[in-house]
């Protein structure tokens, strides 16, 4: 087990190294280099050269890399000259709001997805199953932003039930103070996720229903109810939790479209605005944080799997 932990952590560190090298290399991809995008197209070559020296972009790549990683380790993700704000403080300001959106959307989608997926697996190949399967397929094929657009069209243009914009404000409290405006963004986000959970739950329960332990439980005289809830449901839930842990950073990234449609003031909207303003410090800082969170999530999922499930063999 210790050997596995060390090996797996070293692997994760190698991945972190590759990702950081790639991210720093991206800086140099920006049109005319990072300084040109900072100073604008009318900067003179002398000015560009001056700032290149000032920021150390004229040094060899490995020197830049070492300096940059040193900064990262001190929690310095860069400074957005466009917003006159450090990337770290921008994240501290916007991340909580995105977490609220992701959390609410995930909870709502799980509340529908888990029971309905279970229902579909138990009543598989019935009309109810086919209808729900159709809805999940629709969820897969519909772009997130189009779900948002449709909800705006139906619920705020056709019938004036909910506002077409998300609550505005800089703090979480201001967001939560306007629950009516939160309904549409959360619903749009939840619909897309619902497709994921319900499909996964359905196939997971169907897989579990034919396992030996289910036959054993039945042979020992357990009621169908007990087999379903005490054995199958719990095992399927385990894999959903793992999936949830693995996809959490992806969920945050996926909120970009919802935030843009509803003008929700979270990290996704900030990322989008940074893209429009070619604010590369924000773009790279956000991407790096999301990536590191993904690597950490994968590592934790693997380790917890090895701890919880002795059947998992690692070589």
């Amino acid at each position: 087990m210790t050997g596995f932990l060390i090996r797996r952590t070293l692997q994760a560190l190698l991945v972190v190294f590759l990702v950081t090298v790639f991210t720093l290399a991206l800086v140099h991809l920006f049109p005319g280099g990072p300084i040109r995008s900072l100073l604008g197209p009318r900067a003179t070559p002398q000015q560009v050269a001056y700032y290149n020296r000032l920021y150390g972009f004229d040094q060899p790549f490995y020197v830049q890399y070492i300096k940059w990683v040193g900064q990262l380790l001190h929690g310095n993700l860069g400074f957005s000259t466009k917003l006159n704000q450090s990337v770290t403080s921008l994240i501290a300001q916007d991340l909580p709001k995105t977490i609220i959106l992701v959390l609410l959307g995930t909870v709502v989608s799980l509340v529908f997805g888990i029971p309905l997926g279970l229902y579909q697996a138990v009543k598989r190949y019935t009309t109810g199953d086919y209808i729900l399967t159709g809805i999940s397929f629709l969820g897969y094929a519909t772009p997130t932003f189009f779900v948002g657009i449709l909800l705006v069209e139906w619920f705020s243009i056709d019938i004036h039930l909910f506002p077409p914009f998300a609550p505005q404000g800089t703090t979480v409290g201001q967001i939560l103070a306007d629950p009516r405006a939160l309904v549409l963004p959360v619903a749009a986000y939840a619909f897309v996720l619902y497709a994921l959970w319900s499909r996964y739950m359905r196939s997971s329960v169907m897989d579990n229903l034919v396992q030996d332990y289910v036959r054993t439980a039945r042979a020992k005289g357990a009621s169908e109810r007990r087999v379903l809830w005490g054995h199958v449901f719990r095992n399927s839930l385990m894999s959903i939790v793992t999936l949830l842990g693995l996809s959490l950073p992806t969920l945050v990234a996926g909120a970009i479209f919802i935030e843009v449609v509803f003008n929700y003031p979270g990290m996704g909207l900030a990322f989008y605005n940074a893209a429009l303003n070619v604010d590369y410090q924000v773009l790279l800082g956000f991407t790096l944080i999301a990536t590191l969170a993904t690597i950490l999530g994968n590592l934790l999922a693997d380790v917890s799997y090895a701890v919880l499930d002795p059947r998992v063999r690692y070589n």
Binding site: V15, L18, F30, P143, I157, F257, A275, T291
Partner: protein, 319 residues
């Protein structure tokens, strides 16, 4: 049944009677059989039993004709704006109305669809091609090389896909061709991981071992034996990749980071629509046509992908 794709054909068993000159000659003889072709034919037979998949295929053919042949029948001006017609509702002159700068929506749908379909197909093929070769070689070589190559894949996959695609679009201001590579450049990683998994089990098969024993090159074993036998996974992946690429392009278009005007795609059309409905007016013809086009296309590819997976898995069960 013990038939495996390269083995059950009796005519191929007596390699001893073949004129043996070089290892390549033996390999050519081994390759010449109907292996991958019959595999595809059996796949198609199972596929054709799936009515939903056939209907999807028919629908896709219709969509392709609509986008590429349609403009030759239904002539509209998609180059010059016409502000007199801006936002006009559907009428006999403009069956689906006009957008905010006066382009005919039905014609726009065709032109946008061309971009969406071209980029979707091309990006999927580029990504699956690179991913297949990378994954097959990595899995076939094995050892520390494989381990390192897979860490590169891990690193790429841990970067949230949509974020990196947005950054690349900001950097490159893509036209259609660059867009294909922006979408493909990170999509192939997932394909590589899948194909590598498949390769790990294929490389222990007797017919692959045989290639090595008679001195065949590694590249030959991969290209002529492993890839054809992983063709099921590869085709299914391509189908899903097309749907994904169309969705990603739509997403980028919606964010205003897609192909540059006057070119357009379905997502770009939606982005124009949102601005106008959020102002509180019901310009429904701006959002429904492109939105439904995206959903319909992606649902068809998903159904076809599912049916293909079933048909190739049935083949596996029969073995």
């Amino acid at each position: 049944m013990t038939e495996h794709p390269m083995g059950a054909d009796p005519g191929r068993m007596d390699t001893a009677t073949l004129p043996v000159e070089t290892p390549e000659a033996i390999e050519r003889a081994l390759d010449a059989g109907p292996a991958s072709r019959s595999l595809l034919r059996r796949g198609w037979e199972v596929f054709a039993e799936n009515k939903l998949a056939l209907a999807s295929l028919a629908m896709l053919v219709f969509i392709v004709l609509f986008c590429f042949v349609g403009p030759h029948i239904y002539h509209t001006n998609q180059v010059n704006t016409n502000l007199n017609d801006a936002l006009c509702p559907p009428s006999s002159a403009h069956p689906l109305g006009c957008d905010n700068v006066g382009y005919d929506q039905l014609g726009r749908l065709m032109v946008g669809g061309q971009t969406s379909l071209e980029v979707g197909f091309a990006a999927a093929i580029v990504a699956v091609f690179i991913g297949t070769l990378y994954g097959a070689f990595s899995g076939f070589i094995g050892g520390p090389v494989d381990s390192f190559l897979m860490r590169i894949v891990d690193a790429g996959l841990s970067i949230p896909y949509i974020m990196v695609v947005i950054i690349l679009s900001v950097v490159f201001h893509p036209d259609t061709v660059i867009m294909i590579f922006i979408i493909a450049v990170f999509y192939w990683l997932g394909v590589a991981r899948l194909v590598r998994g498949e390769t790990l089990s294929l490389r222990t098969r007797e017919y692959v071992q045989a290639v090595r024993v008679i001195g065949g090159r590694k590249s030959r074993a991969v290209v002529r034996h492993i890839v054809p036998n992983a063709i099921g996974t590869i085709i299914v992946q391509t189908t899903f990749a097309i749907a994904d690429s169309i969705l990603i392009l739509a997403g980028l278009g919606f964010l205003g980071l897609g192909v540059q005007p006057p070119a357009t795609d379905w997502g770009d059309m939606l982005s124009g629509g949102l601005t106008y409905i959020q102002s509180g007016t019901n310009y429904w013809w701006l959002i429904y046509p492109p939105g439904i086009a995206i959903i319909l296309t992606c649902i068809c590819f998903n159904f076809i992908g599912d049916a293909l997976r079933d048909s190739f898995e049935t083949r596996l069960q029969r073995r």
